[in-house]
């Protein structure tokens, strides 16, 4: 089994190297003067449909993203618990099913509260 994870690690290295190669090919071609490199201030300005950008881009996020992130976190942790149960459902039988029902009920009550509080509406 460990050998399989070794494959994954080695493949990650291969994938990263391949991707880096793809990104560095144009740099090499630029030195060979095949790819043009003629920057100017207008070309290197930020694209905004012909307008000049006003103010900074890196501003604060809408609070709504955090609402969704919080609900996602709660439900994702629930789902992580579901996977081991799903694999062993046949051995665990009815009692395991009831335990999972209770666990899901606890999380889903929170979810329906958020729903009722109109957290899920995109304003």
């Amino acid at each position: 089994m460990l050998a399989n994870y070794g494959y994954i690690g080695l493949f990650l290295i291969a994938a990263l190297l391949f991707t880096l190669l793809m990104v560095t090919i144009p740099i090499a071609l630029r030195f060979l003067r095949i790819v043009p490199d003629k920057p100017n201030p207008i070309k290197n300005s930020i694209f905004e449909c012909g307008m000049e950008t006003i103010g900074k881009t890196w501003v604060r996020f809408n609070i709504h993203y955090y609402y969704y992130a919080l609900i996602f976190l709660a439900l994702d942790v629930l789902v992580v618990f579901l996977y081991p149960w799903a694999v062993n459902l046949r051995e665990l039988g009815g009692s395991g099913f009831i335990i999972i029902l209770v666990l899901m009920a606890i999380v889903l009550v929170g979810f329906s509260y958020a729903w009722k509080k109109r957290v899920l509406e995109w304003k």
């Binding site: 494959y7 080695l10 493949f11 291969a14 694209f47 996602f72 789902v79 459902l89 899920l120 509406e121």
Partner: protein, 374 residues
């Protein structure tokens, strides 16, 4: 070597394909690394051709037909063109993040293919947590996309990137819950075991799960009608507005590599993977992947793009409750007949799916599609 032994047991049961061909740890690794990278690149080219020609046909136009016979060389021509383009980086951009973003986005998209069986046991690594690995690795690409949006210092890019994160976060839950339904029936997380368990393709046993997975999968990889993060009519091109040349091509590649990855996962989970009569298994696998991709092209040309509030509401108020119900129903069915689901279940599940979707869409209309009622 536990996985190898189980594989050999399975081979006796099914057909004789040596799982470790062409032998040895390094031989296996080199062979499958080359095969996976080659597979992804050629499939991306083929799939771009299918998408452009198919969309052309559906929109009553021809599509690219000048380069080579039937325009078959169009993807090659595009690749060469994009390689020779100037690399433009905005002065205000965060240079390092801007440069690193395509790398971070592309590597995980490639990593997904490490556990997908092309044939019985013919995969890079037969992880016993295969599908969990896929779920984990497939959301890493979002980090690359967000890096691209943040690093370009462009307001449209940042908007697109934030929309992407919001969509991925929302659609992750129904996607993962739909997978749990399959895991319940198969009783294993290894993708090869899941394929071997599909004497009846799971699309019949899990019709609702298939629908949920397809919709959520399309949203995860920014396919139309959920492609709000690169909605050309609102935010130019979303997160890759400021990219040009090879780095833009990388994002293009990521988009299609992920589309193929989702098609391959759907094929493996729901359409019984490489199994099929007469033709060799790897050919069946490729045919099914292309069919699923064609369905994605079809939805893209059929449905208009939805709004951001509809996007979020569709996930949280439509897909998530249905996914939970589907999960519980499947668990009950498996508990009722632990030895293996009979054919009757197919009819029951189809009926449940029809009733649930009809009822819930009426309810969903009443909710105002996520808009605040005036």
């Amino acid at each position: 070597m536990m996985a190898l032994e189980t594989n050999i047991n399975n081979l006796v049961r099914l057909q004789a394909v040596p799982p470790d061909w062409p032998g040895g740890f390094w031989g296996h690794w080199v062979f499958f690394t080359v095969v996976i990278i080659g597979f992804v690149l050629t499939m991306v080219m083929g799939v771009i051709y299918i998408e452009r020609r198919g969309m052309g046909r559906m929109q009553s136009r021809l599509g690219p037909n000048r380069t080579g016979p039937f325009g078959l060389l169009q993807p090659v021509a595009d690749a060469i063109k994009v390689l020779l383009k100037e690399n433009i980086v905005p002065t205000a951009a965060d240079k390092l993040v801007h440069w690193l973003a395509p790398v971070v986005a592309f590597a995980p998209a490639l990593m997904i293919f490490a556990v997908i069986p092309f044939q019985n046991g013919a995969m890079l690594a037969d992880l016993n947590i295969g599908i969990l690995y896929v779920v984990a690795i497939s959301s890493v690409s979002t980090v690359g996309v967000f890096m691209a949006g943040w690093g370009s210092s462009n307001k449209y890019s940042l908007l697109g990137a934030m929309r992407n994160v919001a969509a991925v976060v929302s659609y992750e839950i129904p996607l993962v819950l739909a997978i749990v339904g399959v895991v319940l029936i198969a009783g294993s997380l290894s993708l090869n075991q899941i394929v071997l368990a599909q004497d009846i393709p799971f699309i019949l046993l899990q019709p609702l799960g298939f629908f949920l997975f397809f919709a959520a999968g399309c949203a995860e990889i920014n396919r139309s009608p959920f492609d709000l993060m690169e909605a050309d009519s609102e935010i130019v091109a979303g997160f890759h507005t400021e990219y040009s040349g090879m780095k833009f091509a990388m994002f293009y590649l990521v988009e299609y590599a992920e589309a193929i990855a989702i098609s391959a996962i759907i094929t493996t989970l729901f359409l019984s993977g490489w199994r099929g009569p007469l033709l060799p298994p790897w050919l069946w696998f490729i045919i099914k992947v292309l069919l699923v991709f064609f369905a994605m092209v079809w939805t893209r040309t059929t449905l208009p793009r939805i709004r951001i509030d509809q996007l979020m509401a569709f996930s949280w108020k439509f897909l998530l409750p249905l996914a939970v119900i589907n999960l519980l129903v499947t668990a009950l069915e498996v508990l009722a007949s632990p030895a293996g689901l009979p054919w009757v279940v197919v009819i029951i599940n189809l009926a449940i799916m029809a009733i649930l979707i009809l009822l819930w869409s009426k309810f969903f209309f009443k909710l105002g599609w996520g808009r605040i009622e005036v």
